[in-house]
Each structure stands twice: as C-alpha cells, then as structure tokens.
C-alpha cells in the first residue's frame, strides 16, 4: 500500500485531500499541529515551520519505501495591508507556508529517492498571478513556494520524482471563512473560468498528479480555474 504524507491534514483542502486519499486505499499520514481529532487516518503532531518538530514526526520515514508522495497543504493567511501587518505575523506566514514546505520536502525526499520515484505536490494560490490587494505577505510566501518547487523539480527529476504546485483560487474552507463575499466574487471574476472552485476540483488535479500518467509533468504550477 502506497503511503502519502499530507501536511495540514486536519482541516481545509488538506483534510479533503487526505480523506479522498484514504477512501481510495492509500495509507495516509497526516501532519497537523495536534494529533487529536477524529480522523480515519494516522495523524502526527508537528509544527511544519519547526525543523526539529518535523524531524521528530517524520524522521522514521526516511527509509520507508512505501512512501510515494508528499502533499504540502499546510498554510495560513492573513488579509491585511502590508504596512498594517505585524512583523510577527509576517514571519509566521512565511515560516508556515514557505519554510514549512521546504522542510517537509527535505525530510521526505530521501524516502522518495530511495524508492526510485514519487510525487511531491505543493500548494500556492491564484493570488500570485492576480496580485490580489491585501494579500501581499501570503502571496509572497506562495510565490516562494512556486519558485522553490520549480527549481527543486530539477533536482528531483533524475530520481523519478515530480514536483508540482497547485494554485487554487478562493475555495470555501476555513482559510477564507472571514473573507467578505464580495471580495471572493471579485477574485472569481478574474479567473478564466468564472466559477468558484470546489475542493473536489482540487482533488481531481491531485489525483492526476499522483497518477503514473503524470510522469512527464514536473516543475509546473497548475492554476485551478485559470489565471
């Protein structure tokens, strides 16, 4: 049974993806701040932005050849202007979204290399190409994820590991629960497909990227809804 590690598995898109994987027979190892909660898959508690915490949670998987994929879905956002965002919030967003993604890749890549192939899927946002006002810090962290993923894809290519990024627009999860409706509608109206995506739309892309048929797709950012 193939193992997929999903960060941010306790809620939002990460939880939807983890549940979908579990339902399809994958062994899912979720990573979230707390291992408490009622999930049908294994959850390990870790702070994705803390190297020691992540190493403690996932270190035993370095030589586990059942590990097939890593999905970095952990993320936080803060709708705020740059000049009114507290410095500690800036650090927290960059650390969780960008540093957390890099640390997880560092930890899981050896297992995928030892296996001889696998998949890494990171998450960005349509906000990167759309440059949405009030999300500069969040967008900066995700632009970093895109650049990191594209470059890391080159390093992993000789080992049969693809690295791709999925960039959704606003999806009804906890991440945007405090965002006013008109703001969401304004972003959706700038998508090529002017429909608010569902978690299942994201899952469909995850499913494609996990499939053997995606072996020639790497270093790409896939914009859900188009941008």
């Amino acid at each position: 049974m193939d193992t997929v590690i999903v960060t941010g598995a306790s809620r939002g898109l990460g939880n939807h993806v983890a549940m979908s994987l579990h339902e399809r027979g994958y062994r899912v190892i979720g990573v979230s701040r707390s291992s408490k909660g009622d999930t049908p898959f294994e959850v390990r508690a870790a702070d994705v932005a803390d190297a020691a915490s992540m190493s403690k949670a996932l270190g035993d998987l370095k030589r586990d050849k059942s590990v097939y994929a890593l999905i970095n879905a952990a993320g936080i956002a803060s709708m705020n202007l740059v000049i009114t965002t507290p410095p500690e919030t800036v650090t927290k967003i960059i650390n969780t979204n960008l540093i957390g993604t890099i640390l997880a890749c560092q930890l899981v890549a050896p297992a995928l290399i030892r296996r001889g192939g696998g998949r890494i899927i990171n998450f960005s946002t349509l906000g990167v190409p759309l440059a949405i006002k009030g999300e500069a810090i969040y967008i900066a962290s995700k632009a970093g994820v895109e650049a990191f993923s594209r470059t890391f894809a080159r390093e992993m290519s000789p080992h049969g590991v693809t690295v791709n990024t999925i960039a959704p627009g606003p999806i009804d999860t906890a991440l945007i629960e405090k965002v006013p409706r008109d703001k969401i509608d304004a972003v959706v109206s700038r998508q090529i497909i002017e429909r608010q995506a569902e978690p299942s739309d994201v899952w469909n892309i995850v499913s494609l990227l996990l499939s053997p048929e995606s072996s020639m797709i790497s270093g790409e950012t896939i914009h859900v809804g188009g941008a």
């Binding site: 050896p110 290399i113 030892r114 000789p158 080992h159």
Partner: protein, 95 residues
C-alpha cells in the same frame, strides 16, 4: 571497535565507482565530489549521500547530518574529496 579511515575510504571509492559505472576509472581518495572536476553529477551525489548516511548508521554508529552551509564550497566542504569525506566520517564516529 571504531572503523578505520581506510575502510571508510574504500566504501566511498566503491560507491562512486558503482555510481559512475566505470570500474576502470581512476577513483581515489583525491577524487573531488563537488566542483568543476567532480567525479559525480549532482543527482549521483545525492544518491551517494544517502548511501553514506546508511553506512554511517549501520557501520559507524551515528546518524549523519549532511546539511552544511559549506556543502558546496570547494575550499571548505567535507565533500571536496573522497578523502575529506572519509576523514569527516571517522572524526564524527570518534565523538
């Protein structure tokens, strides 16, 4: 009983020879692992690091951490040659 430097060097030489697939090549302790004259490309270097990590755990008795700010420095990296890597591993073993 600690593993000697020559034995560690032999392990790395054999691994590098296997990775480049040329048993007749002149791999020695002076062979660079990074830099312009390196014997292995970056992909093979990653595979070598994983093999050395396993070797350190199984034979030298410690968990090797290969991360270093100077990893790609031809002047300072422990990867600048097979000999320097072996020496580093033996020193780590002694700690």
């Amino acid at each position: 009983m600690p593993v000697g430097k020559e034995e560690v060097e032999k392990f790395i030489v054999d691994e590098v020879s296997m990775l480049i697939g040329d048993a007749s090549s002149q791999i020695s302790t002076a062979t660079p692992l990074i830099g312009a004259n390196r014997a292995v490309d970056s992909a093979d270097l990653v595979v070598l690091l994983l093999a050395v990590e396993d070797y350190a755990r199984d034979n030298l008795g410690f968990q090797w951490d290969w991360t270093s700010d100077s990893a790609m420095s031809e002047a300072r990296s422990v990867l600048r040659s097979i000999g320097s890597l072996a020496e580093h591993l033996v020193n780590q073993q002694a700690r």
